[in-house]
């Protein structure tokens, strides 16, 4: 990793001004952090405790049967604590373990944590959830249990969402795909970086299923034009674009926590989105930039939730 002080000094020498890129250079990267560190950074210092941590060694029973090393936290980290003084649970998926995919254990941890936050909230102790999603969706080595736990996560989210906001952060580099993109879609707020991607089907899967003429998965620019954070926020299906900066992401998470529940969840704006789909020209491919402009203009004209 580059020593930031060296960069600051070099920038100052070149530009003659030490203040040129200080925020960018001095920022602390969120993307470079592991899931556990990401979660810890967002909690109020000293307020949190990790639940069902690695030392409890509740691992996937299905991976070793296939010659794959399990991980003692199953790639799902749950922290209970406070954010800006408010009770919260952070559930973070580790993109570095099986691409953050959902299995029996990671799914059970997520569902249980959401259920407990809903129970506390229902009892008067409003407990929001922050989901740090770096995930390809179902863990195919646990196939049917992976799909089943995602259905259960979705249900548990909807119970919690009646009481407290659910804030999803997709920072990258895995992004959020497959069944877990529904989990993002059901969140109260979605925060993304430019590096992050969000979609149901990844480009490789579309290329495999529908052919390279439908989606050329080697076309990185096209992938980010469609799935990237700038596009998703720009077209209004995600809420805030952030830099890869721990402090900035933490500030936006706090902002949404303080805002509480949105007046309407996006996944309930069925009429709005049904009419937008009806208005699409489906004869040819949809140009991402034009769509962004159309939908963002419509949002300004009264579609804001």
């Amino acid at each position: 990793m580059i020593d930031r002080r060296v960069v600051v000094q070099a920038t100052a020498e070149v530009t003659g001004n030490p203040e040129v890129f200080p925020a960018f250079v001095n920022r602390e990267s969120f993307i470079e952090l592991k899931a556990r560190d990401r979660a810890q950074k967002l909690m109020d210092s000293g307020s949190w405790r990790e639940l069902v941590d690695s030392f409890e060694r509740i691992e996937s029973p299905w991976l070793p049967e296939q010659g794959i090393a399990p991980q003692s936290d199953d790639g799902c980290i749950v922290l209970k604590g406070k954010i800006a003084g408010m009770p919260a649970v952070i559930i973070a998926l580790e993109g570095g373990f099986q691409a953050g995919s959902m299995g029996e254990v990671s799914g059970a941890k997520m569902t249980a944590a959401l259920d407990l936050a809903a129970r506390d909230s229902d009892a008067g102790k409003t407990t929001a959830a922050v989901l740090l999603l770096e995930t390809g969706g179902v863990r195919l080595q646990e196939a049917n249990l992976g799909l089943a736990v995602i259905a259960e996560v979705i249900s548990s989210m909807l119970f919690l969402r009646e009481h407290a906001p659910i804030i999803t952060v997709i920072a990258g580099t895995v992004g959020c795909f497959g069944g877990m993109s529904l989990v993002a879609g059901l969140s109260s707020y979605i925060i993304m970086t430019r590096e992050a991607r969000l979609g149901l089907n990844g480009a490789e899967v579309i290329e495999q299923e529908s052919g390279v003429e439908e989606f050329d998965s080697s076309d990185r620019a096209l992938i980010w034009a469609i799935n990237g954070g700038e596009q998703r926020v720009g077209m209004g299906v995600a809420d805030e674009l952030v830099d890869d900066d721990v402090q900035q992401i933490a500030a936006v998470v706090r902002k949404f926590l303080e805002a509480g529940l949105p007046s309407v969840h996006r996944s309930r704006q069925v009429e709005l989105y049904r009419s937008r789909i009806a208005a699409l020209n489906a004869v040819q491919q949809v140009d991402p930039l034009s769509l962004r402009q159309q939908w963002s203009n419509a949002t300004k004209a009264g579609g804001r939730r």
Binding site: R49, L51, V52, P61, W62, E65, D74, K80, E104, A108, K109, A112, L116, V138, L140, Q141, E142, A143, N144, L145, G146, L147, A148, V149, A151, I154, S155, S156, L158, G179, S181, L182, V183, A184, G185, L198, G199, L200, N201, V205, I206, Q208, E209, S210, E214, F215, I226, R232, V237, R266, S267, R268, V270, Y273, R274, R276, I277, A282, Q285, L291
Partner: protein, 274 residues
């Protein structure tokens, strides 16, 4: 496996409701109808192939953008109409090969469409509508997450053409870098990977497997039998909770989901003291 997803769905929708056309204004791929079920009326929903669909990647029984938002609309309609009255049963007939795999769909945020439908199904359940899914053919991947997997009770035909799975065989093989033969062998050894509905039933997620004679062409006797099973599943759903805890508290789950249940038990215990 059935040559084409959705054929059975349409056959059973017609057999149970007497109709086979979409509601006014809906795309040809989504069938919705009210029909008698016992001494009440239920709303039936089904996604069927539509070769004329506007979106080319959603013409063969996939759940695409139009299908998802139409289902969500028809579900929200029931929720609104029954807000202050008897909660109508909702019956999802499922024969979907997958979600739509297309660039248009990704560009227009199919993830949100799928979320909106899952939201509508789950909301109906949480508001007290008995939601019963009957898998008559395929129930695969995001197609099933969108249409059917939020039900209180899931029934499936006990038939070799019925497949409930996270991903169809050929794609799963490519992505996990295995041959289809390897995947089939693994499926026999590792229950959650199996493509066999009997193995799926072991996971404790199903309410019941139904044996019907010749599920491709519903006979009067089979329709009467299925209708009775739906009535019983509706009653069971009404008697049970409005969440999905029945799936992981089932006898099957207590055998097959020990690690997940252990994680849940520990989480509940530690949450109290954290």
């Amino acid at each position: 496996m059935s040559a084409q997803a959705g054929i059975r769905g349409k056959a059973w929708f017609k057999a149970l409701t007497g109709k086979d056309q979409p509601m006014d204004g809906d795309p040809g791929s989504v069938l919705t109808s009210e029909a008698a079920l016992g001494n009440e009326t239920a709303r039936f929903l089904c996604v069927v192939p539509n070769p004329q669909a506007r979106f080319p990647c959603a013409r063969h029984g996939e759940v695409g953008l139009e299908e998802a938002y139409t289902l969500a609309t028809r579900l929200r309609e029931v929720i609104d109409q029954d807000a202050n009255g008897n909660k109508r049963p909702i019956i999802a007939l499922v024969d979907v090969k997958s979600q739509a795999y297309g660039r248009r769909e990704e560009t227009a945020a199919i993830f949100l469409a799928a979320a909106a439908t899952a939201d509508a199904y789950a909301t109906a359940r949480m508001k007290g509508h008995p939601v019963v899914t009957l898998v008559v053919g395929q129930a695969i991947s995001g197609g099933f997450l969108t249409h059917g997997y939020q039900a209180n009770r899931i029934l499936a035909f006990d038939d070799s053409d019925v497949v409930i799975h996270a991903m169809h065989k050929e794609a799963a093989a490519r992505i996990t870098l295995r041959s289809v033969a390897d995947l089939e062998r693994l499926g026999h050894e590792i229950v959650p990977m199996s493509y066999d509905i009997h193995d799926f039933a072991k996971l404790g997620l199903l309410h019941k497997l139904l044996h019907v004679d010749n599920p491709d062409s519903p006979s009067a006797a089979a329709v009467a039998q299925v209708r009775q099973e739906l009535i019983e599943a509706v009653a069971d759903a009404r008697a049970g909770s409005e969440d999905l805890s029945n799936r992981f508290r089932s006898e099957g789950a207590r055998q097959m989901r020990l690690a997940g249940l252990a994680a849940r038990t520990r989480m509940e215990k530690e949450w109290m003291t954290a």
